[in-house]
């Protein structure tokens, strides 16, 4: 029989704090790891999904992130910021994936994409003219700008959390976010904004 996670009720996942999980890790690291997975897999999946725009790739990337987390010796250290680390690793893996995809070539990408989209039963949720326009506009931005906009406006992270993820100061988050939004304003047509 294959091993599986013995997860506690998913409804409680968001109520667990990192401190609670770290305390538990002292006695039972496996359960603590399961709690980390339970708490963060959904936000990480959507974070990855917004960047790579493919269900299966996002799913596999999140899985890879948790495997890395299991191997991370400092994960349950007192001064270790689990959420920031998970989002940072996910972001790096996602942009690596996007870069690899670009390197493989546009031809292959256009051949594969319709099949991938067709196989994704959840694609319709992401569809919608305005939503697609905004996501397409985000694609045209630099990685730095795209990353910070996704973290703030799609993952709903606070400025302090973003500073932890990007390992920059709060002032840098403010200025980078402002520049990213202004760049996005330049990219999008005024009519799109009016909508």
């Amino acid at each position: 029989m294959p091993a599986s996670l013995r997860l506690v009720s998913p409804d409680n996942a968001s109520s667990w704090s990192e401190e609670d999980i770290k305390q538990l890790a002292g006695n039972n690291p496996r359960t603590a790891m399961e709690m980390v997975i339970q708490k963060f897999r959904e936000p990480l999946y959507f974070h990855a999904r917004y960047i790579v725009k493919d269900h299966q790739e996002a799913y596999d990337l999140v899985q890879e992130v948790f495997i890395k987390a299991m191997r991370e010796q400092r994960l349950f250290d007192d001064d270790f910021k689990i959420k920031a680390w998970l989002f940072r690793v996910t972001t790096n893996l996602c942009f690596n994936q996007v870069r690899n995809r670009k390197r493989r070539g546009v031809l292959l990408d256009t051949m594969m994409k319709p099949e991938a989209l067709g196989a994704d039963q959840f694609q319709h949720v992401f569809e919608g003219e305005q939503r697609e326009e905004m996501l397409a506009a985000l694609d045209s931005l630099s990685e730095d700008h795209r990353e910070i906009l996704v973290l703030r406006y799609y993952d709903d992270l606070s400025y302090a959390e973003i500073a932890d993820v990007l390992q920059v100061k709060l002032g840098t988050v403010m200025s980078r976010l402002s520049r990213a939004r202004m760049r996005l304003m330049d990219v999008m047509k005024p009519s799109e904004l009016a909508n």
């Binding site: 959904e42 200025s175 402002s178 520049r179 202004m182």
Partner: protein
Amino acid sequence: MDCVIVSSRIAAFLDGELAPSEVEQFSIHIERCDPCSQIVIRLEAQRFMPLNNQERSSICSAAGFWGEMDVSLGTQMDEMVRVRSVVVGPWYGRKVGLPAPMLAAYAAAMLLVIAWGMQQRERALSAEVSADHLGQQLEQERRLAAQPAPQQQGSSASGQYKVVNYTPQSGTF
């Protein structure tokens, strides 16, 4: 607050992340500065439209959505726990979690070190013996040099030959 600072704080202003004192300064500036005011208005119109909780849960609560990940990570976790328990056991029950080639290399290195140590010891002992021997030789030579030369008999006698006075007897030939 000038235009440069205002432009770097627009997002924070719109997201309500500025301190009250900064909000006041920011507001004063955009009331007076038309270009900055226009930028604020245009950025305010941006709509990112993230998925709401209902949309998110409609995706993730689908039957078996996390099933594949649960099985995969569960297996990984069991493997990790097993490996860690081998490496981080108590010292008296600890198994050596090293692969065979590493163990062989370690053993070979230890043997080399022991052989080198024995060779060094051997060389040190032989050097000591030869030093003793040399010391004895020197001592002997010193003693010989200190002894007085033996009395010479005869005029042409050397120390190596015995001088014999030969007187032929009559009737010998």
